[in-house]
């Protein structure tokens, strides 16, 4: 949709891939050339077979990118399908992410000096100002990025700073972009260290202000080289963020006065961003008026301070140590059982929670429980016997219902009954086979005293606001034999 869009070809043969600049579990980013345009670009190849993200979710990501045309948001050119891969053509930002820059800088000045601050205030102000301009645009579009961190801030060789990785970016107004309707989101995504408390709590939903918290963490990261709670496992980060006072520059300090080089205006910025009450955090537009940004310089300054000065230090390629960053960017999501689950991806990976997968999990669990299910029927029950059964399942209004029916061997068939249940709208079509399968299992073992009941996960899953729970039969159903 961007101006250049139509002129970027959608054919594999028009691109020559050079070296890899990033590798993730399911995606690889290449430096490339677009032949007809004779122009450098980045090509992100996402393997759709390995990728846990559903195609629908990927198209949301692409859609979010295509709605952005701003100097501080990564330029999306086009995307197309090549065999089982999705190729996303983007602007090449050859100097890597701010995380790479931080590492190179630490190498350049040595660990001892870096302990007193990695980047100076002028550089930080210049970078953050650009990030804020991108965020301001993002937010005015009705979008939330949800994963602002140094690893997602990219640098071009002309000093341009761009926000990348829309993997978890969500539109607040998901349906058709109505900015006034649905103002908060309830999904749990992002990277724990940079995540705002209200995103972790998932009680009241969250809005643009979640990005402002992450920006505050980013500010600390650019100064100290790491996010405040980077050395802790994700669950501990959750606890620290929720229970402690908001972090600051000193949270990670070993010595007093370690970060005294950073002045008051910078500390004010961090403090205002990291307020637990999102309503108290300033907007991106308000932040841009902060005194701290009077220190900001232009692109050329960044070329000098971040690119030329670090020219001799090799870019730490993701390809060389793909495992190293895994913990730092582990993504957290609430599992179908209500427990926290962790996914560990490298920063290039755009995986986020996959609704299909979540639906499939309970089915797989039921599958595992049913291993003995296909054994031949015991001979205790004779042909012609009538068995009384009850199916306990939630209806469309989510109320628990007991559906009583009988089954006569030789007369009734399992699939016939399952069909009747569907036709009578007592169960969802998606559950026809799973109900039939479990009914079959129960009937075969009807003579065994200890197998009078079977509980199984439903294919139809649960309503969006529910969490599957076997005990309350949410997303599950139970068939029992009654005497």
């Amino acid at each position: 949709m961007a101006d250049q869009h139509e002129t970027w070809p959608c054919d594999k043969k028009d691109y020559v891939l050079d070296d890899q600049i990033g590798v993730g579990a399911t995606a690889t980013v290449f430096r490339a050339t677009c032949i007809p345009r004779n122009e450098r670009c980045a090509v992100k190849c996402i393997n759709l077979e390995k990728c846990q993200t559903s195609v629908d979710e990927l198209s949301h990501e692409i859609h979010a990118m295509s709605l952005c045309a701003h100097p501080n948001v990564v330029n999306y050119h086009t995307s197309f399908v090549v065999d089982e891969e999705l190729w996303v053509i983007m602007r090449l930002l050859s100097c890597g992410s701010m995380l790479d820059i931080l590492k190179r800088k630490i190498k350049a000045i040595g660990k001892e000096d870096a302990a007193f601050g990695v980047l100076d205030e002028t550089t930080i102000a210049t970078v953050l100002k650009e990030v804020l301009k991108g965020l301001e645009y993002f937010h005015s579009n009705g979008q939330i990025h949800r994963d602002i961190k140094a690893g997602n801030i990219l640098l071009a060789d002309d000093g341009t700073v761009q926000i990348a990785d829309f993997g978890v970016s969500g539109r607040i107004a998901a349906s058709g972009g109505d900015l006034s309707r649905q103002k908060v989101r309830h999904t749990f995504v992002g990277t724990p260290c940079w995540m705002a408390p209200e995103v972790m709590e998932q009680v009241s939903g969250y809005d643009f202000k979640a990005d402002i918290w992450s920006l505050g963490i980013l500010a600390i990261e650019l100064a100290t080289g790491t996010a405040p709670y980077h050395k802790y496992p994700p669950m501990k980060v959750l606890m620290l963020t929720l229970q402690n006072d908001p972090p600051n520059l000193e949270t990670n300090a070993d010595k007093k006065d370690q970060y005294k080089a950073y002045g008051k205006s910078f500390r004010t910025l961090i403090k205002d961003c990291l307020q637990k009450d999102p309503a108290k955090r300033p907007t991106a537009t308000e932040l841009l008026k902060y005194k701290f940004f009077s220190k900001a310089k232009d692109k050329k300054y960044l070329v000098h301070s971040l690119i030329e000065n670090l020219g001799a230090i090799p870019v730490s390629s993701h390809a060389q140590n793909p495992h190293k960053k895994k913990v730092a960017s582990g993504k957290l999501k609430k599992g179908p059982d209500g427990n926290w689950e962790f996914e560990y991806d490298s920063p290039e990976n755009t995986d986020s929670s996959d609704e299909d997968e979540e639906v499939r999990k309970p089915a797989a669990a039921a599958g595992a429980a049913a291993v003995g299910g296909a054994e031949p029927a015991g001979d205790g029950v004779q042909m012609g016997d009538t068995i009384n059964l009850v199916l306990r399942v939630r209806n469309q209004q989510r109320e628990l219902n007991d559906i009583k029916f009988d089954f006569t061997r030789g007369t009734d068939s399992v699939e016939g009954i399952a069909h009747e249940l569907v036709t009578a709208e007592l169960i969802d079509c998606h559950d026809l086979v799973i109900v039939a399968a479990n009914l079959q299992k129960l009937i075969e073992h009807a003579d065994e005293k200890d197998r009078r009941s079977v509980t199984f996960a439903l294919n139809s899953g649960v309503a969006t606001n529910e969490i599957p729970d076997e005990r309350t039969l949410t997303g599950f159903a139970q068939i029992s034999i009654i005497d």
Partner: protein
């Protein structure tokens, strides 16, 4: 005379719409410089947005919004906005969709005035469908079209127009963003209003599924995977009971699913399995279907048991196939 301190933000809705219309006439004539005219349109679209969404943190004024909507209808600017969409700049295109979609959702009591307006001008819907043929406005038109489709009257107009079959081309566009946008509109059309869609599928079964077959056999992996998934959803929806019965009675459809089960892609196998199981679970399998299953009994049982996926349902299907009587 308005005080200069208030500037243009205090122009009345009528003035704003009039200015927008003038700018649109300019851009349509094409005598002014193109970017100059586009800039003018952009400026007035911003003003319209300001009224609808409120400015500088202030809530919108409902009277002003009502007046603006009224002026928009009477000046007929909506058709002009859509007709000239490709001439606008990037942000203006997004603004058009934002304004259009907001007006579409506006209700007065139980009435939706914009829906009524569009019902009387079905050619506008056709223009939006046609938008998919133009890369730079495709997703903007798509977002407006999906907002229209939420209303059953408008969905019906799109579904029952001959151009509906164009979607089978659009979902195969080489650009992924356009193709996937077209696919979600296509999906909405045949799933959103269940009864209407079921009637349509039933009445146009042959034409529809002849076209659909091409998607299932597409060269494009995403088209194959997405259309297979949607097929599963369609067949398992009880509104489509007739369509399902017809579909699972045709041996060619069963053969196709058995071929798709053999694809090396796990995702395609997964989606194909969920269609395949409907054939097997059918209590009244027609003879030709039963024959195919019987002929392939050994191979199917072997195939289904070697894979770890969907054990529970599979065990059941295996049993069904094994127990079939010749």
């Amino acid at each position: 005379m308005p005080l200069p301190i208030f500037g243009k933000s205090h122009k009345s809705p009528a003035d704003i719409v009039k200015n927008l219309k003038d700018a649109l006439i300019q851009i349509e004539k094409g005598d002014k410089k193109a970017d100059k005219a586009a800039e003018e349109v952009g400026k007035w679209l911003q003003a319209v947005k300001g009224i609808i969404y409120g400015q500088e943190g202030q809530e919108p004024h409902s009277e002003q919004v009502a007046q603006l909507a009224q002026e928009t209808y009477s000046a007929n600017v909506l058709p002009m906005l859509i007709k000239n969409l490709s001439k606008f700049d990037f942000e203006s295109k997004k603004d058009v969709a934002l304004i259009f979609n907001n007006l579409l959702r506006r209700q007065i009591g139980t009435r939706s005035p914009t829906v009524e307006y569009l019902c009387a001008r079905p050619e506008m819907l056709q223009q939006l469908v046609k938008g998919y043929e133009c890369a730079d406005i495709a997703v903007t038109c798509g977002s407006m079209l999906r907002e229209c489709i939420r209303h059953d009257h408008l969905a019906k107009l799109v579904l029952h127009h001959e151009s509906f079959y164009q979607f089978f081309e659009y979902v195969e566009m080489s650009s992924f963003d356009v193709a996937s946008d077209a696919f979600s509109t296509f999906k909405d059309l045949i799933t959103k209003h269940k009864t209407m869609a079921a009637e349509f599928l039933d009445a146009n079964y042959d034409v529809f599924f002849t076209h659909y077959q091409k998607l299932l056999n597409s060269e494009n992996y995403v088209t194959r995977r997405q259309s297979l998934k949607l097929l599963g959803e369609l067949l398992l929806d009880r509104h489509n009971f007739n369509v399902m019965t017809r579909y699972i009675s045709n041996p060619d459809n069963l053969k196709l699913m058995m071929n798709l089960l053999k694809e090396r892609s796990k995702s395609i196998q997964f989606e194909a399995f969920h269609v395949f199981k409907v054939f097997v679970a059918n209590p009244n399998k027609p003879r030709p279907i039963a024959d195919i299953l019987l002929r392939n009994r050994e191979r199917l049982v072997e195939f289904l048991t070697e894979d770890e996926q969907f054990n529970d349902e599979k065990a059941y299907l295996v049993k069904q196939i094994q127990e079939m009587k010749v």
